[in-house]
């Protein structure tokens, strides 16, 4: 018996045992392989959703219908939103979680490696269902990513494919979250107390709880849409005793925490990067953790601020306004903390730091436009206009995406063993920064002047800003191909990276693991003092 165990042990000890070729990736249970697959999947989805954004901006370049018809335009806005949220940003941060959580807490792998494999492999079929909807009769749903009833009940079978895709994506997210929570709570190295965990790990612990809480709610909402469509229920049909606004309540009960599911891991990445390049510890670790937790709790209590114009009761409007404004307090605490971390540090500005500062600057701007939108009377003017489009792209692109870029540049040396090209990285940052603001800053003015969102054609007074925005969009799209080039170049023939290329980086993956990180992270746990 002991001989058998001994043999098993020998086998497990051998490094880098995996089948070659495609089967390595199909069968892998390794957190690094799975993290890599998440990241590449997310990048492919990012280009797909980005292509749809290009179609939208091409149509909106000038007044009149030129590129697509209105149905196709609506399908593009719907799929762009769904793909970017569920296909690009969320999987990107799950990729970071897979790569980093075991290394940062001193664990050998994720707690449930096989489930980890399954969580990833659910994503490609879901993405295929979403894209397949473009080719069925009636095309993809033209309802916007929010899938509001009753319009969603009117759609063709593309809507059903989208509903099933959301079911599958939800399953994947829930399994991923269970895995992350279990790993963080059970597999920490001796001495790694909760309040010693790197902030990125904290952000994922909180995010995973949010996911488990709200993904079933979204699944419920789309399932009710499905039964309204095919099985004679009337959840959202007033003629049968239902209420169309009910859909919005359920959707946003998912949708608002979802905003933080995307933003909180981004906060985590930035909270690793800024101290590293300031060569100074995070100013208020404890208050950061508390601020994150309060944001997570508040995120469940503010959903109807997306619905000020639906005809909420006055008391409802007032409550949701106050609760939403309150989010500015913990958000402010975080921004002040990052700035205080930089204060009197010894700053250097490699690409990860540039993206982190870009994040800080633009995310705060998005936070301010969020505060403007939280004020009910102002929101009545701005709701469903381009102001809102500008606001959430400041939070989603300059917030989440810039932070993901910061993270990729920061950890690429650890992942690949190679340094990326610093000059090209900086080009990527500056071009992204300029084009991003070209696209979205002017959209604030479009919204203020009253241009509704989700329209394929517009009145001539909106032309100049739309042209600027479209040119910015094409520039931003091309710039991301530069990012692809930088990453591929780094993997193929970047310079060899030292174990700790960033002198201020102090979490376990830098201090205890060689570069590139070995296939199995910590076979014997490190001791954390």
């Amino acid at each position: 018996m002991s001989a058998v165990i001994g043999h098993e042990h020998d086998h497990a000890d051998g490094h880098d045992h995996y089948p070659g070729g495609i089967m390595r990736w199909v069968k892998t249970t390794n957190h690094k392989d799975i993290g890599t697959m998440y990241l590449w999947f997310s990048f492919i989805m990012f280009l797909t959703g980005g292509f749809m954004a290009m179609v939208i901006r091409a149509e909106l370049f000038m007044p009149g219908m030129q590129v697509v018809n209105p149905e196709a335009f609506n399908q593009m806005t719907t799929l762009h939103g769904l793909i970017m949220v569920f296909g690009a940003i969320m999987p990107a941060f799950v990729g970071f979680a897979n790569w980093l959580i075991p290394m940062q807490i001193g664990a050998p792998d994720m707690a449930f490696p096989r489930m980890n494999n399954w969580s990833f492999w659910l994503l490609p079929p879901a993405a295929l269902l979403l894209l397949l909807s473009l080719f069925v009769p009636g095309g993809a749903p033209g309802v916007g990513w929010t899938l509001y009833a009753p319009l969603s009940v009117q759609q063709g079978m593309g809507m059903d494919l989208t509903i099933f895709a959301i079911h599958i994506l939800g399953m994947s997210s829930i399994m991923g979250s269970i895995n992350i929570i279990t790993t963080i709570l059970n597999l920490r190295a001796p001495g790694m107390t909760m309040m010693k965990m790197p902030l990125f790990v904290w952000t994922w612990l909180i995010t995973a709880y949010l996911l488990i809480a709200v993904m079933p709610v979204l699944a419920g909402a789309v399932t009710m849409t499905l039964t309204d469509r095919h099985f004679g229920t009337h959840f959202f049909n007033a003629a049968g005793g239902g209420d169309p606004v009910l859909f919005q309540h359920i959707f946003w009960f998912f949708g608002h925490p979802e905003v933080y599911i995307i933003a909180i891991p981004a906060f985590g990445v930035v909270s690793q990067v800024i101290p590293a390049f300031s060569r100074k510890p995070l100013f208020g670790y404890t208050s950061m953790v508390y601020a994150l937790a309060s944001i997570a709790i508040l995120s469940f209590l503010v959903w109807a601020h997306h619905m000020y114009t639906t005809g909420l009761p006055v008391t409802g409007q007032l409550y949701y306004m106050y609760a939403t404004m309150l989010i500015a307090v913990p958000t402010g605490v975080k921004v002040f903390n990052w700035v205080a971390t930089m204060w009197k540090g010894s700053l250097s500005f490699e690409t990860p730091m540039l993206f982190a500062i870009g994040f800080l600057f633009l995310f705060t701007l998005g936070g301010f436009s969020g505060l403007v939108l939280s004020i009910v009377p102002v929101d009545i003017q701005l709701h469903d206009t381009y102001y809102v489009v500008a606001h959430f792209h400041y939070v989603m692109v300059a917030g989440a995406l810039f932070s993901a870029f910061a993270g990729v540049y920061f950890w690429l040396p650890k992942w690949t063993g190679h340094m990326y090209d610093e000059t090209l990285g900086k080009w990527h940052f500056w071009l992204s920064m300029i084009f991003f603001n070209m696209i979205f800053f002017v959209q604030h003015f479009l919204g203020l002047a009253g241009m509704p969102r989700r329209i394929p054609d517009y009145a001539p007074q909106f032309t100049d800003f739309n042209m600027i925005s479209s040119i910015g969009a094409f520039g931003f799209g091309l710039t991301q191909l530069l990012f692809l080039y930088v990453v591929v170049k780094c993997i193929r023939n970047g310079e060899m990276a030292p174990q700790r290329p960033w002198e201020g980086a102090d979490s376990l993956e830098w201090t205890h693991l060689p570069t590139p990180a070995p296939y199995h992270s910590f076979e014997t746990p490190p001791t954390v003092k």
Binding site: P63, M65, Q66, P70, N74, V143, G144, Y148, P150, L151, Q154, N237, A238, D243, P244, R279, L282, G284, Y285, S287, T309, G311, M321, Y322, L326, V329, G332, V333, V335, V339, A340, T341, M342, W343, K344, S346, L347, S348, F349, I357, T364, L365, V372, I375, P377, V378, I380, Q381, D384, V442, F445, A449, G450, P452, I455, P456, Y458, A459, Q461, D464
Partner: protein, 364 residues
Amino acid sequence: MIKTLFQKIGVGALTMLVPGLVWAQDKAKWNLQEPHTSVAREMYDLHSVVLIICLIIFVGVFGVMFYSVIKHRKSAGHKAALFHENTTVEILWTVVPFFILIGMAWPATRSVLAMRDTSSPDITIKVTGYQWKWSYEYLKGEGDLAGLADGVQLYSVLATPHDQIYGNAPKGEHYLLEVDNPLVVPVGKKVRVLITANDVLHAWYVPAFGVKQDAVPGFIRDAWFKVDKPGTYRGQCAELCGKEHGFMPIVVEAVEPEKFAAWAAKQKSAAAPNAATAIVAATGGGDGKGTYDKVCSVCHAAGVAGAPKFGDKAAWAPRIATGVDALHNSALKGKNAMPPKGGMVTTPDGDIVAAVDYMVKAAK
């Protein structure tokens, strides 16, 4: 005085942020549309105040950050101070924003209460959103002007020709923001609008009035406005409602109350002889005019999707030549773009037949 100063600073500061755009120095482009009701004015001022506060905080926070970026860089030889955590500072930056927020919430609450007070209107109008047009129905309701226009109903459809949209004709001055029948309201009177929808969600949005209210099928919401100046005000549907969402604008003509009374009287008298005809026309045993107004006019009033236009003799002549029975059958079973019974399958056959007779009569 202070408010206008604030607004100037706000607009100026925004302009500075985008120096490349100074050429487009048209104020309406940079801010909310010029307000024409008390509610819209409060929204405008509230936005300016909040924007100024945000700008001040923004400049403060990022002033500190950029100072640090310039002075505390490693390349300038700055050594990192290793301080962290400071309870006093942390309590301060939690509590101070809280009080700033209360300062914003106070005036906002006042505006919300004013905005939602739809009591004692002078006139009430029911607004219904359809895929893809608006209908306006003047109700009897309460108030000074109640009854002046009651019973008047109009459908309001995009008037921009197809050719302009698809680039076959130059675009007009009010491209996409023009309709065949605008909503007509009196200035200086409190107009209450009851808003609903017939099919999916729409939203009735007129920026200059500060009104944006979702139209929810099966439910009635309300809003109000009192326009301060005669003029034409333009808005759009603001809730995605399908393929023509971008093509269902809202146009409101605000006129002096006397003019409004004259307009209302004219609408009523124009409707009256039609009503008389309808009684005669109702030979099918159904309500011809009523059914036409409710069902057929959706397309036949303006000639949508190839439908022969109401009263257009040239368009109707070849159809009438096929015989009245053939027309009855087409209406009941559907033809070309027209679904059976114009899509309202619950309408009794008699009513449909009567409506066809009514339309034929008007085209002879």
